[in-house]
């Protein structure tokens, strides 16, 4: 049973998240509403996973993101899922910069689909990643002129997108209606084309892809 910390300043959304996660078997250890409280909670409670809104009081700027980055600088690999009303490549790159995984960055709308959202929370708690499809689309768009990426087949590109979002082979096969062996074949081909070292570990594989996209 995972211990969760929630940082969100809107009461309705905070309450909704608490109920949603409790219903799926998580224990909510704290639900805070400001930046300083969040940082204190992250460092003292060391939750198994935290759900953090980017914009929090008192400054209503990127208070939540800064607290998350500060906590992860002190406790490397502390699992944090960042939620926001808008996604920015800039923030995604900052979150991914330490390369230690256990990180998520999703639009708030993704909460609408409870199963997928809870799935993402679990993935982050287990050390995986959960990147919003919109972030991945932006990362790929800014790599559009990159030679190796342009050489991918459309199918491989779809697999790459799903993989960059943080999905496992099983997850990708479910989403794209492919057999797992077909997904494995595609990933091997993608890694060969991008010149990355293949790895059986799902998480490490995702991080390699994100680091590749991030390196522009």
């Amino acid at each position: 049973m995972s211990r969760v910390l929630i940082a969100e300043d809107l009461y309705l959304l905070r309450d909704g998240l608490v109920h949603l996660l409790q219903a799926h078997g998580f224990t909510v250890v704290a639900a805070v509403e400001s930046g300083p409280e969040l940082l204190k909670g992250l460092l003292e409670l060391r939750p198994d996973v935290s759900i953090v809104d980017v914009r929090l009081p008192p400054t209503f700027t990127d208070e939540g993101l800064q607290a998350a980055l500060a906590a992860r600088a002190k406790v490397p690999g502390l699992p944090i899922l960042v939620l926001s009303q808008h996604v920015e490549q800039l923030y995604a790159r900052e979150l991914l910069a330490d390369g230690s995984g256990a990180i998520g960055y999703l639009l708030k709308d993704r909460v609408f689909n409870a199963t997928q959202f809870v799935d993402a929370v679990r993935r982050v708690a287990e050390g995986g990643t959960a990147m919003d499809p919109e972030v991945i689309a932006k990362l790929l768009a800014s790599n559009a002129r990159n030679e190796p990426l342009a050489a991918l087949t459309p199918r491989e590109r779809e697999v790459l997108e799903a993989m960059a979002e943080g999905r496992s082979n099983a997850g990708i096969s479910q989403r794209l209606y492919l057999s797992e062996s077909a997904v494995a074949k595609h990933t091997a081909s993608i890694f060969a084309k991008l010149g990355l070292a293949p790895s059986d570990d799902d998480n490490r594989r995702v991080l390699a892809v994100l680091a590749y996209l991030n390196s522009r």
């Binding site: 980017v54 009303q85 920015e88 708030k108 609408f112 932006k138 559009a144 002129r145």
Partner: protein, 477 residues
């Protein structure tokens, strides 16, 4: 030296035209005001202005004394009213000619510069004759003295500068208000056609669900899924609108990171250099951000550029942004509305845009926003008017005298019972007056020091500028 003599000769030769001009001007003035022939006044004023302008130009070129033209801005053309008439004071006219003539007549008449020009023209022959020895012996110095005299009579005054500023501010305010109104209309349209319409659709879908839920749960479920999808789309739509109003990264991180985020999302390879001490004021940030955003998208769309560079730097309290791209160049502000839109936005902050875009590229756009950084006071330092400056200087120069020799030193000498009276004023007075005068001197000295410090400290440039405001810069009806 020979050139100086030539210049002096030209100045003296000008007298040949100036003296007849004065001879003609006096009867014209008399006729226009004494006999009511007011139509003679404008040509008279223009003639005097012609000589004054000529003199200003010659002095600027020959001696480097910068003589600014002090004229008030010309009145705007009369505005056509809804009923097709033109108004001048309380009279309506069918054609704009009469009100325009009236306005110009009033403008020439009420501008103090007109009368200063006239005074200059009247005195000019005398001054030139007085300076004749200097012109002949040391022509360089003579010309300089003459230029200083010209500057004194013909140069800009605080009032005329202020009037110029007022008309500039009025123009930029109108531009800013216009562009803001246009923005508001665009946002209104976006919300009206986008988010609002989608929310209506969601509401209708939910109504249908309510009706169906008992009889046909499967259909209701399908409709609910549709409503959820629609709400997602509405959010996407709202995000797009918000980005157009004030991008969230800009609010959260400031100009530097917002431009970096912009560069990442751009299809071009954009490198960004930022050197900013802190956050700027929100309106400046927004104007600068949208300017850079517009320039980058122009470069990608019209210039077909592949790489671009953005450089944001500061100089004292000024902000300078340079955007360079390797596109095909040939950008022309007259062709598209993009560049003029940026200029309009920047003009609200007295910002200027310089474009260098030769055909074939590269295109460089430099934007300067003066005095927009908080905290730096370089430009705002109070400048004392000359009268106060003289008073302060005189105070500092003399305050020591009552304080020390006539006050404290005299007191010490008296207390010690010294015989020497030296130049201590108090010691020459009758015994009863000596101490009061010594203390009076010390008091006076302290007061003078105090005033010397207080005058510059309390000098308020804004209040002083308000005091110097001309009575009627130019009234717009």
């Amino acid at each position: 030296m020979l050139r100086r003599f030539g210049q002096v000769a030209v100045l003296l030769a000008l007298l040949l035209a100036e003296i007849p001009a004065v001879m003609a001007a006096l009867p014209m003035l008399l006729a226009s005001f004494g006999m009511g022939l007011i139509f003679l006044f404008p040509p008279l004023a223009w003639m005097v202005r012609y000589f004054a302008e000529l003199n200003r130009r010659l002095m600027r070129e020959w001696t480097g004394v910068p003589i600014e033209a002090p004229y008030l801005p010309e009145p705007p053309p009369p505005v056509r009213q809804p009923d097709g008439m033109y108004r001048s004071d309380r009279t309506l006219y069918r054609s704009p000619r009469v009100p325009a003539w009236n306005n110009r007549w009033k403008w020439l008449l009420t501008d103090p510069a007109t009368w200063r020009d006239g005074l200059w023209l009247l005195l000019d022959p005398v001054v030139k004759l007085l300076l004749l020895p200097a012109f002949l012996l040391v022509p360089g110095r003579g010309l300089r003295v003459y230029a200083i005299w010209s500057n004194w009579v013909l140069g800009a005054t605080a009032a005329s500068r202020l009037a110029g500023q007022v008309s500039h501010l009025r123009r930029t305010r109108n531009l800013a208000a216009d562009s803001q109104a246009a923005e508001m209309r665009r946002i209104e349209r976006d919300l009206h056609d986008g988010a609002q319409a989608r929310l209506v659709a969601i509401g209708m879908t939910l109504g249908a669900v309510e009706a169906l839920v008992d009889n046909d749960p499967t259909a209701a479920k399908a409709l609910l899924a549709k409503a959820r999808e629609s709400s997602s789309e509405t959010l996407t739509e709202l995000r797009r609108v918000i980005r157009g109003i004030h991008p969230p990264v800009l609010a959260e991180r400031g100009l530097g990171d917002a431009v970096r985020a912009l560069a990442m999302d751009s299809a071009m390879q954009v490198s960004v250099t930022v050197d900013l001490p802190g956050r700027l004021e929100a309106p400046v940030e927004a104007a600068a951000y949208f300017a850079v955003s517009e320039l980058l998208s122009n470069a990608a769309r019209h210039g077909d550029a592949r790489t671009a560079e953005v450089d944001i730097s500061t100089n004292d309290s000024d902000l300078r942004i340079t955007v360079t791209d390797d596109g095909m160049g040939g950008a022309d502000p007259a062709k598209g509305s993009g560049l003029s839109g940026i200029e309009r936005r920047l003009s609200a902050f007295d910002g200027v845009l310089a474009l260098n875009s030769p055909p074939g590229g590269p295109t460089t756009v430099t934007m300067d926003l003066p005095a927009v950084l908080p905290g730096s006071s370089g430009r705002k330092r109070a400048c004392l008017p000359r009268r106060k400056l003289l008073v302060v200087a005189a105070l500092w120069a003399t305050a020591w005298c009552p304080t020390f020799p006539q006050g404290i030193v005299a007191g010490v000498v008296k207390a010690l019972g010294g015989e020497e009276k030296s130049w201590f004023l108090a010691l020459y007075l009758p015994e009863v007056w000596q101490w009061p005068v010594i203390f009076g001197m010390i008091g006076l000295g302290i007061f003078m020091h105090f005033m010397a410090m207080r005058i510059p400290a309390t000098h308020d440039p804004e209040r002083w500028m308000r005091g110097a405001t001309p009575g009627k810069p130019w009234r717009l009806e």
